[in-house]
């Protein structure tokens, strides 16, 4: 499988995504500068984490105008797999590929720590390899991860099974104490209506090897790889 990893000015988890996809999981992966315009030949697009344009305006608000984003939007609208991690999630919201917005953490502080996520919601190629209710241990690292949408949007997301990850404790209980940033309804990751676009604040690429603390993040990558294999066969 061949991944396009987009590098905006200020992106920093491009290398980490490349490391996990290529060195750990043996996939093909290229880092594409944001001025590229073609995604031809790629099976999936990764918008990684970082501080695109320094997050000096609203996070992701400038990156959405990068030349490559036109192709990313077309790629997503064609039903091809796109994942936005952290700053990438913010870019997806700013691009209206996903609903809602990510506000300043309710602590008003940057947070970097290992947290727990519970798999919920409908089928998506990004998480079909993860059982409903399964708990994942992955790190977060963000200043603006406080997910917000109006009640109508939230109800629509919930009723259509588009909330894929929720912050929880290690037993899988969704509690206020397990919410690291104030996200409404503990939401950590959502998909679009078609299920091919996933946005999430936590960093699966940082949970890709036992020696760095765990491999739960690979469940997401393995889901999409498995999906690609099945689609091809």
């Amino acid at each position: 499988m061949r991944f396009a990893i987009v590098r905006f000015p200020g992106t920093w988890s491009d290398r980490d995504c490349h490391h996990v996809l290529h060195n750990v999981l043996g996939q093909e992966a290229d880092i594409l500068w944001h001025r590229e315009t073609s995604l031809s030949g790629y099976d999936a697009v990764v918008l990684p984490g970082g501080f695109s344009y320094g997050d000096y305006l609203r996070c992701g608000a400038i990156a959405r105008f990068s030349p490559i984003m036109e192709s990313v939007i077309a790629f997503a609208e064609a039903g091809r797999p796109v994942i936005g991690i952290c700053n990438g999630f913010q870019v997806l919201c700013e691009s209206h590929l996903l609903p809602g917005a990510l506000m300043r953490n309710d602590s008003l502080e940057f947070r970097c720590e290992w947290i727990h996520l519970r798999r919920e919601g409908a089928s998506t190629p990004w998480a079909d390899g993860i059982a409903s209710g399964q708990v994942l241990n992955v790190p977060i690292s963000h200043n603006d991860g406080n997910y917000f949408a109006d009640d109508a949007t939230l109800d629509e997301l919930e009723s259509s099974g588009r909330v894929i990850f929720r912050y929880c404790d290690e037993r899988g209980d969704v509690t206020p104490a397990a919410n690291p940033n104030g996200s409404v309804r503990n939401i950590a990751g959502i998909i679009n209506a078609r299920g091919n676009v996933l946005g999430m604040m936590p960093h699966p690429e940082r949970a890709g090897e036992t020696i760095v603390g765990g491999t739960d993040g690979n469940l997401i990558w393995q889901s999409i790889i498995e999906h690609a294999l099945q689609t091809a066969s």
Binding site: G54, P139, V212
Partner: protein, 738 residues
């Protein structure tokens, strides 16, 4: 014509220094030249008071690739054709005035020092000292400094993997903010900060030049200013732009790692801006240069040559490019959406010549500019030490058995002992996906990308001990840093240091600095860890009272197999726990300078001691034990003593501990539990390894005491202490509830 006192004060030169300058120059300097010389001869750039003492450090070795002080940072060979580049630097005075930006630009400056070497920065550590938390200003400074370090470093995508936070009233209003950065490079791609080869082109890249930070080096960093002037000095603190730095870092690394042959040298613009950057490059390359400063991109119009030459605008780099590759270099920076302007060229001769629109505005011989006077002063041992050292903790009543649990919980909750999780969770600790041991243990372990090797990193200094005995305290800072490195299974290999003292013109401050340096030097010789880079920050005083002498040691260790790393956490029920290096019985004297003594008796007194040979034997033993795979954990026993070390291992591993019921803690309970004698490490071992552990300890001449074992469940008992892991954690996380 006599120069006015105001003009000299503005650049912090003394009348004698000015006269010496005129004599060496053979003429009076003009205003621009005076500003340039003043900056270069400042304490901050010129190390006038410290340089003769810094020569006492052992600085060479098989692995050392750079000469100390000769480049932006020190480089150490780590095998496989790669090297680690490292340095620690202070940003104390700016942080006192404007904590967020002061700390942020401190990170920015040290990171540029690392990528100026052609290395990719892979780790940041920060060593912080604040006043007491009861002082509301401390809370403002603490929050601002931590926010600034995080705000800048997080944006760069460099993990912040460790550091220290220490509180004491002597730092009220004068916090210490020391940041260390570590990078990695292919050794054959290392870049020097030199200008040579007539016709080589000077390219200025990154941010535009503004009126910010003028006199940062000569003013802020090289004297003591009263707090009443902070408001008017705030504009001298620069404002950071980490996004610009991120682009510069990526561009410079691409240039050095892929196109090393395009360039002669690479240099950052730090203290004294363009002046020090160009003059120092010329001095290293023994070449002159012509600068055409009308080509320097400005933030505002009307800037004078003086302002352009002394601006400390951040996020700027100087590239010395081969003439035939100027277009290539320019294209590379344009790809990264950065400015790149040719502002001058390398010429023969002894001078840096500054021109504006063809008119010469300054001519500075680099040799004179980079050879400021050096001062070797006569120090005097601080008089208060006589009384403080004479204090005998044995005269204090011992800790009551019934209060042992309470005392441990109270010491664990002390800001200097308590977990700093509330600080480091505001820093990205994992980006680059190579952080193997995260902050919160002894030292941090970072994998070398694409290999199975790792480095261990630690900053350390117990300033109370340097205060009570500068020589011994300096040696202990090195010993403890090395002990922390060894507790991860890594071998200590090199040191970078940040020496924070008061006004060196005071004989007692000078004595303290000299003896701390001598102590560090002796310990570095013993451990075979040369000092490869560093920084000195003087004039750290408030109302005439200096801060504790704070000799921060940043240490690098190497681990050949990352899988063999150790942590401090108790993990395996049934594992026997040992104290290596000392008997459980401890004399009252080990309470000297301890956290317990200050917490429970309100005293900072006593006489610290260290046996460097015994310490080295202990460290060799732990490495030998780990090499045979006998250990499950290792933890330095230092601040807070043995009881705190055991508690921390239990908390980190979320595992219970049961002390042997037959334990005899001797006749000083306080010293046995909470004394801070050096040269002690707590390990848990594989049950089958006990005989071999005793055998190896015997061969190394290191005493071993059996303490107990790791157990299932959450109970924690040791001698008269009886509590639970959740109770310990509750106390240990006191700082989280600020």
């Amino acid at each position: 014509m006599a120069v006015s006192q105001e003009a000299l004060d503005a650049v912090a030169l003394s009348r004698d220094e000015y006269d010496l300058l005129v004599q060496r120059l053979g003429r009076e300097p003009n205003d621009v030249e005076l500003g340039m010389f003043g900056s270069l001869w400042s304490e901050h750039c010129g190390y006038k008071n410290s340089k003769p003492l810094l020569r006492l450090f052992p600085s060479g070795g098989d692995r050392v690739l750079t000469q100390i002080g000769a480049e932006n940072a020190g480089a150490i060979d780590v095998g496989d054709g790669r090297c680690v580049v490292m340095k620690v630097e202070s940003h104390n005075h700016p942080s006192a005035i404007e904590p967020y930006q002061g700390a942020a630009t401190g990170v920015g400056g040290i990171v540029r020092d690392i990528f100026a070497m052609g290395a990719y920065p892979i780790a940041i550590l920060d060593s912080l000292r604040f006043g007491t938390l009861e002082d509301p200003q401390t809370r403002y400074l603490f929050d601002g400094v931590v926010g600034g370090i995080g705000g800048y470093g997080n944006c760069l995508g460099i993990p912040n993997v460790g550091g220290e936070v220490f509180f004491a009233s002597c730092y009220n209003g004068n916090p210490l903010v020391n940041a260390m950065c570590v990078g990695i490079a292919d050794t054959d791609k290392l870049v020097s900060a030199r200008a040579s080869g007539e016709g080589s082109v000077l390219l200025l890249v990154g941010s535009d030049t503004g009126r910010d930070g003028i006199h940062g080096a000569s003013g802020l960093a090289s004297r003591t200013d009263p707090e009443s002037r902070f408001a008017e000095m705030r504009p001298a603190v620069q404002v950071g732009n980490p996004f610009m730095e991120k682009l510069l870092m990526e561009a410079c690394y691409e240039l050095a790692s892929q196109h090393r042959d395009w360039i002669v040298g690479l240099q950052d613009l730090g203290a004294a801006g363009l002046t020090s950057s160009v003059v120092e490059c010329c001095a290293r390359g023994r070449s002159g240069a012509v600068l055409n400063i009308e080509r320097v991109p400005r933030r505002e119009s009307g800037m004078t040559p003086y302002e352009v030459m002394l601006s400390e605008s951040q996020e700027r780099m100087l590239i010395i490019a081969k003439p035939e590759h100027v277009e290539d270099v320019t294209a590379l920076f344009h790809h990264w959406e950065l400015h790149c302007e040719a502002i001058g060229e390398v010429v023969g001769g002894p001078d840096v010549i500054v021109r504006e629109n063809g008119v010469e505005v300054a001519r500075v011989p680099w040799e004179i500019a980079t050879e400021p006077p050096e001062y070797r002063r006569a120090g005097e041992r601080p008089v208060e030490l006589v009384e403080l050292n004479r204090f005998d903790p044995a005269t204090l009543p011992d800790l009551a058995t019934a209060d042992a649990t309470g005392a441990l919980l109270r010491v664990l909750a002390r800001p200097n002992i308590a977990s700093k999780r509330g600080v480091y969770r505001r820093y990205d600790q994992q980006v680059l996906a190579n952080t193997i041991v995260q902050p919160g243990g002894d030292a941090s372990v970072v994998r070398i990308d694409g290999t199975n090797r790792a480095i261990a990193l630690k900053t350390d200094c117990n300033p109370r001990l340097v205060y009570l005995d500068p020589y011994v305290g300096g040696a202990i800072a090195v010993a403890e840093a090395a002990r922390n490195i060894v507790c991860t299974g890594a071998t200590p290999v090199a040191v970078t240091d940040c020496l924070n003292f008061g006004n060196p013109e005071k004989p007692d401050v000078y004595y303290t600095m000299e003896h701390a340096i001598r102590g560090i030097a002796e310990a570095c010789l013993e451990f075979g860890t040369p000092v490869v880079s560093g920084n000195v920050s003087l004039y750290n005083e408030r109302s005439g009272v200096p801060v504790y002498p704070t000799a921060v040691i940043g240490m690098l260790g190497l681990l050949d197999d990352v899988e063999q790393h150790l942590t401090a956490a108790f993990s395996t029920p049934g594992a026997p726990v040992f104290l290596l290096g000392a008997d459980i019985h401890q004399p009252a004297v080990t309470l000297g300078g301890s956290e317990y003594l200050e917490a429970e008796h309100g005293k900072v007194a006593g006489l610290p001691a260290v046996d460097l040979v015994a310490e080295h034997n202990l460290q060799k033993l732990v490495l030998a034990l780990n090499a045979e795979g006998l250990l499950l954990s290792a933890h330095d026993c230092s601040e807070g003593g043995l009881a705190v070390a055991l508690a921390e291992s239990s908390i980190l591993g979320n595992s219970g501990f049961e002390g042997d019921s037959s334990l005899d803690l001797g006749d000083r309970l306080d010293a046995a539990l909470l004394g801070e004698g050096q040269g002690r490490i707590v390990v848990s071992a594989r049950p089958a390894a006990v005989d071999r552990l005793h055998q190896l300890a015997g061969e190394h001449g290191v005493p071993v005491s059996e303490l107990g074992q790791v157990i299932e469940g959450q109970s924690f008992t040791f001698g008269p202490i009886s509590t639970t892991v959740p109770m310990l954690r509750e106390a240990y996380e006191a700082l989280m509830r600020l």
